[in-house]
């Protein structure tokens, strides 16, 4: 009807060869992010820290459990950071090498942050999409449930859970995950609602695309932007929450530690002049949090610019 078949086949072939590559929104966001100097510096910094946790153990002289009896007797003097004694960061109050402990603590904190955020992301996103897309009564019920849970102060819940079920790695993740998926679910549901009413979803429906296919093909990719931004903000929050709990003595149990626990210990011995016990873990902690905040900000600016 619009010309002979042969002509259109030739046309299609020509098109494939000469087609211009489009500039997708992801590409735009990537460009914006990489041109954000502050964010890129933070990515580099964070990368260095990760490198440190991976490569650091190769340089360690002491492991993180062994007690150095000589240093323990005179923590203030012999336990100070020095290169000769092999205690690059000094020793803690029990004579254990702080360098290795800091590496182990940083790894723990980063893991907790990432895994906790990942769990919250998956659970929260699924819950939010289902609630937002189904709408109506089911949505109302699901969100009422979330609201009630949100009314309970999260730290109390975490403490409660940990006390009730005992302290272990698994329990820590469960407890953290149990409170953090809530706000993610709320945000994803809100975004789903907004998307659901957009014209292109109605267009897809009018074109006969099935509901489930619409959810996967159209809504999910458009949600990713928001999800990424809030997930990146979740990571420092997880680390914060875990550190807070460890500080209270309810977190990871020995011999594993996290930055929160180390800071607690360091804060306890501040008055005795062993400042390195506080400052080293503090430095790593603050650096990680600040870099993550900047990265999260950068991601938000990249994925959701208002000047479009």
């Amino acid at each position: 009807m619009f010309g002979s078949s042969k002509k259109t086949i030739e046309l299609a072939e020509a098109v494939n060869e000469q087609a211009v590559v489009g500039r997708s929104l992801w590409r735009d966001a990537y460009d914006r992010f990489t041109s954000n100097k502050a964010a890129m510096v933070c990515v580099a910094t964070l990368g260095c820290i990760v490198l440190f946790t991976l490569a650091g153990p190769f340089f360690a002289v002491w492991d993180n459990e062994t007690i150095d009896w000589t240093a323990m007797g005179d923590v203030r003097g012999l336990g100070a950071p020095s290169v000769e004694s092999g205690h690059f960061f000094g020793v803690d109050d029990l004579g254990r090498d702080l360098y290795s402990r800091v590496i182990q603590a940083t790894t723990t904190s980063l893991l907790v942050g990432l895994i906790g955020a990942a769990m919250a992301l998956i659970v929260g996103t699924l819950y939010g999409i289902v609630a937002g897309y189904l709408g109506g009564r089911i949505d109302g019920l699901m969100m009422r449930f979330v609201d009630i849970l949100l009314a309970i102060p999260s730290t109390l819940v975490i403490i409660l859970l940990l006390v009730v079920a005992g302290r272990s790695f698994i329990m820590l993740f469960v407890a953290l995950g149990a409170v953090s998926w809530l706000s993610m679910a709320r945000i994803v549901r809100g975004q789903t609602l907004t998307l659901k009413n957009r014209d292109f979803i109605e267009a897809a429906r009018a074109a006969g695309v099935g509901e489930f296919t619409i959810m996967i093909r159209h809504i999910l990719p458009n949600l990713l932007g928001v999800v990424i931004v809030y997930a990146s903000l979740l990571v420092p929050e997880m680390i914060l929450a875990e550190s807070f709990i460890s500080f209270l003595g309810l977190g990871i149990s020995e011999p594993y530690t996290s930055l929160g626990a180390l800071i607690a210990e360091g804060a306890g011995t501040m008055a005795y002049g062993t400042l390195w016990q506080l400052l080293f873990p503090l430095f790593f902690y603050v650096t990680i949090i600040i870099t993550m905040f900047f990265i999260g900000d950068g991601l938000r600016d990249a994925l959701d610019p208002k000047d479009r």
Partner: protein, 307 residues
């Protein structure tokens, strides 16, 4: 407005009930009771103790009695660990302290945060803006348990200006550090939210109209921009209040102020379930109340939501 308030109040009640029930159930299913300890007690003694605390009743009756006591007598029951004290006593002792510095921290965080955010937005892309944003981010990275040790390090150990702990009836040298430690990180987040909200408002069409009318800029900021700016801030303030409450747990422990936080963690570790339950319900109830207030404030700010 009145109808809206009443409806929201009514909706808050089931939330509260659910909260109490959930906490109650959670504690019941926990392994170990308040009286399991290293020394096994003879069964007769155990039975007597349980009878005294009403633990031998079926669960639903325990729950019902508990609820009844709370609603009609405001009585949270006896403490399991301290034989001569009621939960009410413990709460009455610690709560005013937590509330005092908690409220002051909330006030400080809000006022400083909003001021900083507005100043940054008005002077967008000047050094004030960059300074405020950096300050905000730095502050957010310094939560209470980080600020605490740093403050004591500087002000008590090095400078010797302020006492390192205690309450002393709330005299101001004992108040300052807890308040700063508790409020700093929220100051940062409130500042950033205020700033981005105001930037968005200042770009809106009605601000453009106001400028076209030749109204002085300061009047535009105060009369036209403030209320819409504060709208998202207000809805954030609800959770902030809750964070301040829970953060007070740390302050109590670290600064030994004798507030409720110490009682809470202590009861958690010693399995004094009635105290644990009482404090959880108290904090939960406060949260619900604050959320209600925030919702009402939100409606006051935005005339379109008056229903």
């Amino acid at each position: 407005m009145l109808g809206y308030s009443i409806r929201r109040l009514l909706a808050a009640i089931p939330t509260l009930l659910l909260l109490i029930a959930a906490s109650f159930v959670l504690i019941q299913v926990a392994p170990g009771g308040p009286f399991t300890s290293e020394r096994p007690l003879p069964p007769q003694v155990l039975a007597n103790i349980e009878a005294r605390y009403g633990l031998d009743q079926p669960m639903w009756k325990q729950f019902w009695d508990y609820l009844y006591n709370i609603v009609f007598h405001f009585d949270f029951g006896p403490s399991f660990k301290f034989k001569d004290r009621d939960v009410n006593d413990i709460i009455a002792q610690g709560f005013p302290i937590s509330l005092t510095y908690g409220f002051l921290s909330f006030l400080a965080a809000t006022s400083v945060g909003v001021t900083l955010g507005v100043a940054a937005a008005i002077r967008h892309n000047t050094w004030i803006d960059y300074f405020a944003v950096s300050l905000g981010i730095a502050a957010q990275a310094l939560p209470n348990f980080i600020m605490g040790p740093i403050l004591i390090l500087v002000f008590t150990l090095y400078l010797g200006w302020l006492p390192g702990g205690g309450w002393n009836g709330g005299a101001w040298p004992y108040l300052i550090m807890p308040v700063i430690a508790l409020s700093t990180s929220y100051m940062g987040s409130i500042a950033r939210i205020t700033r981005s909200s105001m930037l968005e408002v200042l770009n809106s069409n009605y601000i453009r109209t106001a400028r076209a009318k030749g109204i002085p800029e300061r009047q535009i900021i105060w009369k036209h921009a403030m209320k819409p700016t504060l709208l998202p801030v207000v809805s954030y303030l609800g959770p902030v209040f809750v964070y301040v409450l829970t953060g007070s747990v740390f302050v109590d422990i670290y600064f030994s102020t004798g507030g409720l936080g110490q009682a809470y963690v202590g009861s958690a570790l010693s399995r004094d379930y009635s105290v644990l339950l009482g404090v959880t319900i108290l904090y939960g109830g406060l949260t619900v109340l604050v959320n209600l207030i925030t919702d009402l404030a939100y409606a006051w700010f935005d005339p379109k939501i008056r229903y």
